[in-house]
Amino acid sequence: MTIAVRNADISRRSFMVGAAGLTFAVASGLRPAEAATRSGDVGLSPWVTISTDDTVSIMSPAAEMGQGSLTSLPLILSEELDADWAKVKIVVAPPNDDLYKNPTFGYMYTAGSNAVTSYFKPLRLFGAQVRKVLLANAASHWNVPVAELTTGPNVVIHEKSGRKLTYGEIAAFAEIPAKAPEVAESELKSPDKFRLIGHDVMRVELPSKVNGTAQYSIDVQVPGMLYGAILRAPVEGSGPEKIDEAGEKAIAQAIQASPAIKMGNVHIVPLPYGVGVIADTPWAAFDIKDRLKVTWTRTGKGWGFNSEKALPEFAKAARDMSQPTKLWGKAGDAIAALQTAATVVEAEYRNDLVYHAQMEPLNAVASVSADGQSCEVWCGVQSKTIAVTVAANALKIAPDKIIYHDMLMGGGFGRRGHRDEEYVHDAVVMSNAVKKPVKVMWTREDDIHNGRFNPLSAHFLRAGFDASGKLIAFHHRKACDEVTAFQDPVRYERQKGRDGIAYNGVDAPYYEIPNRLGEAVPRDTGLRTSSLRGIAHLTNVFAIESFMDELARKRGIDPATFRRDLVKSAPRATAIIDKVANMAGWGKTRENSALGFTYMNYSGTQIALAAEVTVDRRTGAIRVPNVWTALDPGINVQPNTILAQTESSIVYGLGFALFERITTDDGAVEQSGFYDYHVPRINEIPEMHIELVATNNHPTGVGQMATPLVAPAIANAVAELTGVRLRETPMTPDRVKKALG
C-alpha cells in the first residue's frame, strides 16, 4: 500500500466536506483549536476524513523506511478517535510543513527515532477532538445529553435507549463546529483502556513487501522515460575542469559495444559537480558513464585528505587543551575537580568513517515540463518538504509547481534527509536538460564513492576520583568534523553552530557525576559527512561505555554495579540495568567466552545491553554468540515493531563494531562495493535475547537505541576475556591481533 499523494490533492480534499462524508478540515498543523478559524483556507488539509461507508481515512505524516511509523502514527490517532482499525485507511500526507510538520523539527522530517515521540500527544488530542465532534452530532441527532453517550469501534452508543450510530452514519448528517472542541489531557484514555496502542497490528505496507508490489522510486516507470547516470567529482566542492575528448569517444565506444543505443537519446550533461549521461536504457547510461574521463578542478577542500594518516592528528587535537573547542554540555566544574582529584584516569578511542549502505542505491525520477515551469518528482526521502524545495530551487520555480510523489525508501539510516537531497536534485536537473522524464540511478559504486559518512572521530576522556574512591569528574573531548554544517547548513545556522549530529551526548548527561564536561574539538576535513544510525551516540557511547568499563576495572568494581551506582536516583535506569544483568546471567564465569556490559539513556529510552564474545587469538576474529538487551521506551506503541527495530539496531551496531570501514586517500573514497565494504550477513549475527519493558511514560524512540551499545559491549567483553582493551572501531581481526600482541 503506497499511496502517492500529490500536492494537488490538498485542495480537492478540502472541498470534500459534506460531499462524500465528513472531512475534519482542521488546519494549522497540530493546533486544531486555532485552525477552525481558518477553515476556508485553500491550503487547508484534513487529518481525518470519515466517509459515509464508514471508512476512516487518516493522514500519516512520517516517511516510511522500514521503521513502521506509517502505521504507528495513524494508530495513535485512531486510539483516541475510537476508530475501528479494520475500517481505517492510511493516507500518506502530502508535503506541507504548516499542516504536517514534526513538532520537534518544525518541518516534515523523519529522523532521530523521533516520529512517535513527537507526534504522540498532538495525534491523541486530535483523535479525541474528532470523537467529541461525532458525539456532539449524535447527541443532537437523538436529542440526548452527550454525557449519556459512549463510543465503541467506529460507533456511538446510547446505552439507555440501546441505539447506535456508526461513524459513517453520523458523517452523512454531521456538522463541523466552527471551533474545534477543547480536550483536556485528563479526558484522554488512560493507558489501561488502550485497545490499539500496545497491541500489534499488521504494518500497512507489509503485504506489498512480500510480493514485489511495494513501490520505491527506483521502480517508477513513466512513459517515454530516459535513464541517467552521473560521474561525480571524487571530492566535494570540485567539478569537471575538462571533459576529456572521451566524452564523445565514450559514446562512440559504447555504441560500438551496444548497437541498440539510440544516438538521439544520448546526452552528456555537464554539471557543476560532475558529468551526467542520459540514454534510453540504464545499461547504456552506466556504460557511457564508466567510459568517461574527466579532469576535476582542485577546488574542493578534501583533496589530499588521507583518513588513516589524519586519525592520529585528530587524537592529538583531542588531547591538546590549547585547541579551540565548543562547549557541548557541563555540570559543575570538571577541570577544577580533575585538578584536585586524588586519582586521574585518561583514555583515548578512535572511530573510522562509516557508510550507510542502505539497500536501495540512491535514485529519483523527475519529469520537467517542456517550458521548464513545472515538474513531477518521484523519490524516497526523509523530508518530503525538503525534496519539494530542492526541486523548485533547481528550476527556479515556485514550490507549488512541483508535483511530488511519495515513494517508499529502501533504507534511510540518516542518508536521505540532507538539506540538499542531492539525488533528488540530480533527477530534476537531468530531466530539465532534456525536458523528458529521467530516472537517475546511482550504482552501488556511486553510492559508496559519493557516500556521506559517519565522521572520523578521536575521543580523549579523563576521569577524576576523590580520596574515598568516588567518581567526581568526567571530561570528554571529541575531535571530528561538524556534521550539521555539511548535512544541514540551515539547521546549523539556526542552532548557532551547535552540532547535535556530531556531539550530542558527549557529556554523558545521564550519569550522576558531580562535575562533567563534554567538548567539541571541531575538525574541517572537507569530507562529506552525515548522521548515521546511532547518530552522535554511535561513537560517543563507544568511548563513554568503554571508558566506564575501564574505570570500573581500575576501581575493582563490577562494571554493571559501577554503572548502576551512577544512575541510582533514576529507578527506570537501575531497573533496566538489573534486568539485563539478570537476563545475561551476568557475573557467571564462562569457559572461553566472556560478557561485556553497557547502558545508556538514549533520548529518554532506557537501554542496557550485554554481549558475549569469543576471540580467535590466531586470526584475531571476534565472534559474538549472544546479545541480551532490554529497553524501556515508556508506552510500547507497537511492541513487535520495537522488537524488529531492536534486532535491526543490534545488527547495524555489529557492523560498526567489527567490520565497517571507509578510508580516503587524496580525499577520494577507497571502497567500491560489498566486496570491500563488509556489512553483516545472516551467518555473522548473534542470538538476540530482547525484552521490552512497557511503562506508562510518554513514548520515546525505539529505532536505533541498541546500535551504539553493541561496539562497547563487545570491547568490554574482549577486555574481560583477554585483559586487552580495544580502542578503535571497527575491531577488525588485524587490529585485534595487533592489540593482543
Partner: protein, 151 residues
C-alpha cells in the same frame, strides 16, 4: 538478435545486447520491478530470481544466456502471495524497508524447494548470499523454520 525466454510462464523477448544483465531487462524492459538492483556484483542478492528452477543473481546473468530458459521472479512465485514462504514472511513480519525481501524470498523458496526440512545451519549457510541492511535476519530464519515445520 532478440533473446526469447519464458518469464513467469509467459513468453518474453528482449532486444537488449546479449551482455546486458538480465536484471535490467526484467526491471526496465519487462517492467517487473519486484526484482531489485542492490549492488550489480552478485554480492547482495536483491536481484535473486529462479532460472530453470534454481536461484540465480540476475545482475550476474547476461540476458543472452537465458535464451529458451524459464525464469521466475517474485511476481511469478504466486499469484496472490500464497506461496508458503510469502505467508511465513508475513506471519513473522520479516520485512522492514523491504527492499531486499524479494531476493530473500526467492532464495528461501529455492532452499525449501530442494531441501524441505533444512537445519538451522543449512538455512544460515544458504541465506548468507543475501544482505539485509535492516537486519531482519532472525526473522528470516524463523520464517524459513516455520515453513519447514508447517510443511
Amino acid at each position: 538478435m532478440a533473446t526469447s525466454f519464458k518469464i513467469n510462464g509467459k513468453t518474453a523477448q528482449s532486444d537488449a545486447p546479449p551482455a546486458t544483465p538480465l536484471l535490467w531487462v526484467i526491471r526496465e524492459e519487462l517492467k517487473l520491478t519486484g526484482t531489485k538492483f542492490g549492488c550489480g556484483t552478485g554480492l547482495c542478492g536483491a536481484c535473486m530470481v529462479h532460472i530453470d528452477g534454481k536461484r540465480a543473481f540476475s545482475c550476474q546473468t547476461p540476458v543472452g544466456q537465458v535464451a529458451g530458459k524459464q525464469i521466475t521472479t517474485i511476481e511469478g512465485l504466486s499469484a496472490d502471495s500464497s506461496h508458503p514462504v510469502q505467508k511465513a514472511w508475513l506471519a513473522e513480519k520479516v520485512p522492514q524497508c523491504g527492499y531486499c525481501q524479494s531476493g530473500q524470498i526467492m532464495s528461501a523458496a529455492d532452499l525449501l524447494a530442494h531441501n524441505p526440512k533444512p537445519t538451522r545451519a543449512q538455512i544460515v549457510e544458504h541465506m548468507s548470499t543475501n544482505i539485509c541492511r535492516c537486519g531482519s535476519y532472525p526473522r528470516i530464519v524463523r520464517a524459513i523454520e516455520r515453513v519447514a515445520q508447517e510443511g
